[in-house]
Structures are given as C-alpha cells and as structure tokens.
Amino acid sequence: MSKQKIVIIGNGMVGHNFIEKLVASEGYANFEVHTFCEEPRVAYDRVYLSSYFSGKTAEDLSLVKPGFYEANGVKIYMNDKAIDIDLEAKIVKSEAGVEIAYDKLIMATGSYPFVPPITGNEREGCLVYRTIEDLDMIQAAADKGKVGVVVGGGLLGLEAAKALKDLGLETHVVEFASRLMPVQLDDGGSALLKRKIENLGVSVHCSKATTEIVAGDDCVNKMMFADGESLETDIVLFSAGIRPRDDLAKQVGLKLGPRGGIQINNQCLTSDADVFAIGECALHDGMIYGLVAPGYAMAQAVVDQLNSKTAAFEGADQSTKLKLMGVDVASIGDPHGTDENALSYVYENGPEEIYKKIVVTPDGKKLLGAVLVGDAEDFGNLLQIMLNDMDLPEHPDALILPNRDGGGADLFGPDALPDTAQLCSCYDVSKGDIVDAVEGGCCTMADIKATTEAGTGCGGCVQLVTNVLNNELEKRGVEVNTDLCEHFGYTRQELFHICKVEEIKDFDTLLSKHGKGHGCEICKQAVGSIFASLWNAYALEEDKIPLQDTNDNYLGNMQKDGTYSVIPRVPGGEITPEKLIVLGEIAQKYKLYTKINGGQRIVLFGAQMNDLPAIWKRLIDAGFESGQAYAKALRTVKSCVGSTWCRFGLDDSVTMAIELENRYKGLRSPHKIKMGVSGCTRECAEAQAKDIGLISTENGWNLFVCGNGGMKPRHADLFASDLTTEEVFRYVDRLLMFYIKTANRLERTATWMDNLEGGLSYLQDVVINDSLGLASELEMQMQALHDTYQCDWKAAIENPEFTKRFRSFVNVDEPAEQLFVEERGQIRPATESEKLAGIAVQVKELV
C-alpha cells in the first residue's frame, strides 16, 4: 500500500504540534509528511517569546528537537511559503517552485497582528510583536530610543509593555476601551490591575483613541489622540488583536467566516473534504481561538481521524491564568455575567491589592465565571468546579474569601474531581492521567513532570496537580512517607528546623529527644550536614565523626580499592605555574595518578590513608586549600577566560568565579553545588548546566539557577537579568540559604525547585521580592557561615588528635598493603586477576 501524503502549510506552534502527534501515533508508518515553513526557522514557542529579551535564544525557544524531522522522515521546506493550492488536482505550490500532491492538506497558517488603520502606522518605529524577527526589530529600535508605547491593553499588549519596560524604555499602554484586558476582566479587576501596573512604572491611558501618528519633536514619533492630547514616543507597538491568515484559503475558494477565518466543522474540516484547518487560522463555531491549547486539541482531533478513529473538536475553554508584570491575573468562563440574572460575589482587599469575583447561576448552584487579580491561587479549583459543572457550596463566597482561621478549607478536595477533569490544559493531562502515573510509580512532582509533561508549560496547574498527586499517594498508603528513615519521623527540612530552634548541636541529643534507635548512615549523614550548615560544625570533632560518610571523615573520596583522591581547590580554574609544580612534585613523591578532572581542577588518585596528612601539609604550605570534592558542598566554579583575554568577553568571568568560589567554599548543603561563569553568551563555561550560572551581558550578569549535568541533565532557568555584582551575591546568598533550609537530603537544586509549589516564579518571589520576609535572615546566615569558614584540611593537620585518625592501623605503625599496576606511565588499582597472577605491586616497589 502506498503511503498517504499529508501536507501541512505553516510550521508554527500548532503545525508542529500536529506533526509531533502524528509521528507518535500508531499509524505513522502509513504516512508521508511534508510541511511548508515560511519563517527562517522551525517552529518555536511564541508563548515564551518575551523571554527572548531576557536571555533565551532562538534555539532555546525552538519546539523542534534537533534532528527530529530528519529522524522521522518529515520533509520540511524552510523559508518557503505556499502560494497556491489546486483543490481539484490536490497539489500545493510554493514560492520557491515546489509542487507537491497531497492526499490530505492541513492549513496551520496561524494569524497576524492587527494594525489599526491609523494614518502614519507605517512610520519608523511602528512595530508588532509576533515573531523573533519582530523582537529583533524592537530591540534595535529600543537601543536607539527612550520611550515606547503599546497600543492595546489586552493580554499580549501588557506582555509587550513588560518587554519594553525591561528594555529600559519609559513605557506607556494606550487602550481604546475604558479598561485593561476588556475581554477577560470586569471593571473592578481592571482598575486594580491598572493600579498595580502603574506602580511598576508603566503609564496606562484608557479610553484613548489614536487618530494619527506624526513625526515627533523629541522622539521619532508623536501619537495624536481624539481627545486632543498627544504623546511623544520612539516606538509604537501595535497589539490590537490578531487576524487569521486566511488569504491563501480565500484565494483558492475555501469557505471563510463573515469576518474572516477558515471555517471548520467539529471534524476540523474546511469546505473541502480533503483540507483541514487547525490553530489560529481556523474559525470554529464563530470563534477564533488565540491560545495554543485549543489549537493542540484541534491537532489531536485531526491526527485521530487520520488514524481512522472518530474524533471531534467541540470548542474549548478560554480560561487563562497569567503573571503579567509580576501580577497574577486569571479569568475563568464568563466573568461578565452576560446572563442578567446571574449573581455575583466580589472580594476586594485594598491594602493587599487583591480582587476576586465569582459569577454564579441565579439559583446559586453553579459557577459561571470568575476574575482573580493579585492572587490567583484559587484558579485551579474554580476552573475545575466550572468545567466539571460541580455543585457549589451553600455559601459560594467561601470560595474566594480568605481562609484565615483554617476553617472551611478545601471545600473541593482532589477527590471531588472526576477522572476526566483536565488539570493541565497546556499538555491535556487529566486527573486520570495523574492517577495512572502514580500507579506507574511516580512519587514526586518532578516525576510527574517527566512522565506526563503536566506543569511544564505555563505552570498554572502545578498547585492543583500537586494536590492530586499527594492525595493519590496518601490513598495508596504511600502515606507520602517523608520520614528521613526509621530513626526519625521527620523530613530533612523539619529536622533542620528542630535543630535550629532548639539549638541542638549533637546527634545523641537529637536522637534522644526526637528519634529512636542508634541511627543509620542515612540520618547520620543528613544530620551531620545540617549541623555543618547551621553551625559550621567541623567534621573531625570526635562526636561528628560517626555522622560522616567515609569521604567526609577522611576528607577525600574513597576509591574502589580503598585509597583516596586528593583534590585541592583551584578557584575559577586559575592556577600558577608554581602551584602546578608543587602538584607535580607531590604526585611524583607519593606516586599518585594524576588527571585533569571534569571540574576544571587537578585530581591526584591513589593516595593511601596514612599519607593523606603529609600530602595535605605540603599542599597547604604551598597555598592550596581543600577542594571539598568529598563533601556535599560547593564543588567548583567553572570559568572561561572572559574579557581579560577573550576578544568576545564582556566581563571578567575569572574574577567573578574566584569571588564566588571564595564566598561559598566549604558551604555544606543537601547535595553538591556547582557553579559556572561565562564571559558572554557563547557560554564556554557551561554555566547553564550548573546549580548557579552567570553569563555576562552588555548590562551586567544574567543569573541562571537550578541546572545540572549528571544523571538527569537539566538546563538552568534564567532567574534574573542584568544584575550588578552586588545583586548577584545578594540573590545567590538568599537562594542557596533557602535551598539549604528547605531541600530534602540528596536533592539537587533542580529537583528541589521542581518540587516547590510554584517552581521558578515562587523562588523568584522569595529571593527577589522577599515575599516571605526572609531575605535579611538568609543573608545573615550566609554571612555567618562565610565568616566561620575554615579549610578542613588545615584544621586536620594542625591537630594531632585529628591526624591520628589517618593511621592505617591503631595498633601497628605500618601502611596497609595496597596493590597497583602501571599503565601509561602511572599507577592504577590492580584487578582481581592481576592480583592473583602476581603482577600487581605495592607502591614502594615502584621505581
């Protein structure tokens, strides 16, 4: 059987999503796929377009994994626009002259920004906000100008305004209607939003009609308004709505709606039985959906049909929750109460700037819509109540009133939700999917994200998904056992708190007051780390020894043969020739295997326990310090050469790396911490693969957090942009101390953040906006740890009681036998067969 030829016009978010779904479908072997991509790059994430200004690159935004199309035999025509369709012969023609016959054609041409027909709208500096090219133009115009105006106070307009503000422009929003976000919000919600946005330094002008744009006196342009006023600006950014790209469809005679849009039925079929339309170009039941989720649902419906399944798109909910300029805004269902008998409840909290409104049916039984501004925590709950047509409680206002005394909480627990309830609309994940994932072994929010993708889009659903997850775990008797181990019925975080509040500084006290038994390697290490974080307790003090793993006890990592590694700190990877020579001499003297390791420093392997103090004495005399490679602590800060040597370097990455290393060296934490500093976006230091990463920009440092390599590599997230050095340290102090206080044992920063409710934005709130009021305490604690830092090895060799610990045997003064063989001119541990064959030798026998 020959393959069915599927041609997709448009490689935007929905076009690509369609291809991904088709490739993943069972019948994919029966299809041959071609797609036209008018833009110079494959599909990218418009939803996160604004992050392009805060450091994300076009590659970061790409939705297509490198090699995905090639690997799956998808033929893509880049930079090529479909310009004609012969519906009779079923052939698509492109600008570049490609002609392809199709069996089924998919229109996914998206939409374009509407520019109101105002005289002067084509002047220099008049721009729109939809593609990466648009953003490049905005950036260029912003570099030259100082004022920017956004025309349109809807969702996108406010997002664009934030971008202009971040680019350092004096920013205005001009809205024709009498309020912001006229489609989603009511007057009360809009008024509050306006106030909040104005507090952020953006001027908002409502009820303003622009009549003309002319040359300005101080700026490039001057906007003239119907009320006689005017406003000088360099940039005019139009964000006055979108219009479907239906020109090609119109040209070939596909049926359009009265006001545009390619008309489709519930099967997403156009007026031609072999042509589908999906995404923002499609008009369904009189609606154009300006959101991705409905487009993805349409894509799914078409893929199912191509796989001979019955499927339909029956409209989608347009509820939205966003963070606009740091302000939570959500709109659910019909918040305007178009049914005039509908009842509404409003809660307004002036001092805290919170506005909430719900609209219910005249009998008070069902929820019709809601508006939340300033606090959108109830979004998930309210949305589910509406979508699932659940009965409201007797007093519906309880849903939005603050729950101060703890009563009446959880009117609708996760159990009230049906399995079909869609929790994550970005990835269409239902409660049932979460339940299945838990059945399949998922136990943490991080597992859920990896398995179902829920929560990895806009993030709006994380809170709700977490509730469902925990509820399911509890029901399974997993009873969300967060106990550290059988000796302590607490989490690491709780123990941390207990030790701090009760000022507990030794294990026996903690065990007798709060635990049972003798402890084990799990709780002992966790508590040892807590003591170190809280009191900078020294590992070799007699009562701390039992709390350390061997690596911490002998201040080196134990190798497979019982010898240890020696890794001195080389801050920022910078080392003098003199120090290199000392390392070489030590390695020669003690016959140590020498290697440049992955952390930009030098490691000496094969040191025998009884030699460690002498080796370290030599190192310390030469000015080295412990590298703490054995500890759950700061490891290395990797750096590139930066502006000192590199022709692209924007700032001195080496100095920054050394300063970071010196501030945080020795810091004990739930897991190891790694950092990186790159002098420009070429990123030679791989800072985005570190727990803390800095990349120099024209205007300061971009701070990335919670990345790692290792078993589950994870890219770091951009945390804040264009920081001064002082801000960097302030934020890193707060963030690391908060991590140390709240993470679970052996939880690296990435997992920790993914498991925090609210994830990245919550963390930003805590660290940048000090939402918990903890900032100064966190900074003080970090300062105290920094002030009491001591080099573990220096302390060890200065105290005979400590050096005693490194004897091979307590009763005789001789080293333990240790067998090696030579390879490439250096030692390595002998294998079992080499030992048996007698070809392994002791170090002292090596010449």
Binding site: E486, H487, G517, H518, G519, C520, E521, C523, K524, Q525, E542, D543, I545, P546, Q548, D549, T550, N553, Y554, M558, K560, D561, G562, R805, S808, F809, V810, N811, V812, E814, A816, E832
Partner: protein, 106 residues
C-alpha cells in the same frame, strides 16, 4: 579458637565509629558502640577492598549494623551477616574490653 590478643586501649577507638587493627596478620575492623566492641574482618566482600572499618554504624530494624563504605550494603555487627544480599557474610571475631584494654581473638 586462638587466644585473645591485646590490641589497643579504648582511647584508640572512636565512639559510634570504626578503626582498623592488624591482629596476627589479619586486618580487623573494630566498632565501638554502647560501651561494647565488635570485631569484623576488614575486607569488604562486595567492594573487594580492606575498608569495612571506615563504614558508618547504627541500627536497622533493631539490629546493630555497619554500612559498607563503598556500596552501602549493611552487615549485622554481631553476626557479620549481610542484610541486603542473601548468603553473604563477613567473618566476625570475638572481642572484649577489660580495664579499658581491647582484646580480639583471630
């Protein structure tokens, strides 16, 4: 069974942790917990290295144990029996404390 040999004093032991001793050519791991001393062979049968004395000790389900430092298998301190891998155990040696002196018999 050989005679008890005097190995060291209790001052050489570390409370709630281990040290190594060489007794009649045998590497022995000595663990000191609840005023009692336990002697196991120092060889880790899984990691194949003389490291048991450097493992952490404590209890699991009420049994005193040592966790091997390389791969963290648990061994009963009194019997040497591995709690994670069936059929595996480490030799144990009689040990005692008299007048602050530690005696082991290998």
């Amino acid at each position: 069974m050989n005679d008890f040999v005097k190995v060291c004093s209790t001052n050489d032991l570390v409370k709630n942790a281990g040290v190594a001793a060489l007794v009649d050519g045998v590497q022995v791991a000595l663990f000191y917990i609840d005023e009692e001393v336990f002697a196991l062979d120092n060889f880790d049968p899984v990691g194949k290295a003389y490291v048991m004395s450097r493992g952490m000790i404590g209890d699991l389900k009420g049994e005193l144990m040592v966790a091997a430092p390389l791969q963290k298998q648990h061994y009963n301190l009194k019997t040497g029996v591995c709690m994670d891998i069936e059929g595996l155990s480490i030799p144990t040696y009689p040990a005692k404390i008299e007048n602050d002196q530690v005696f082991v018999s290998c």
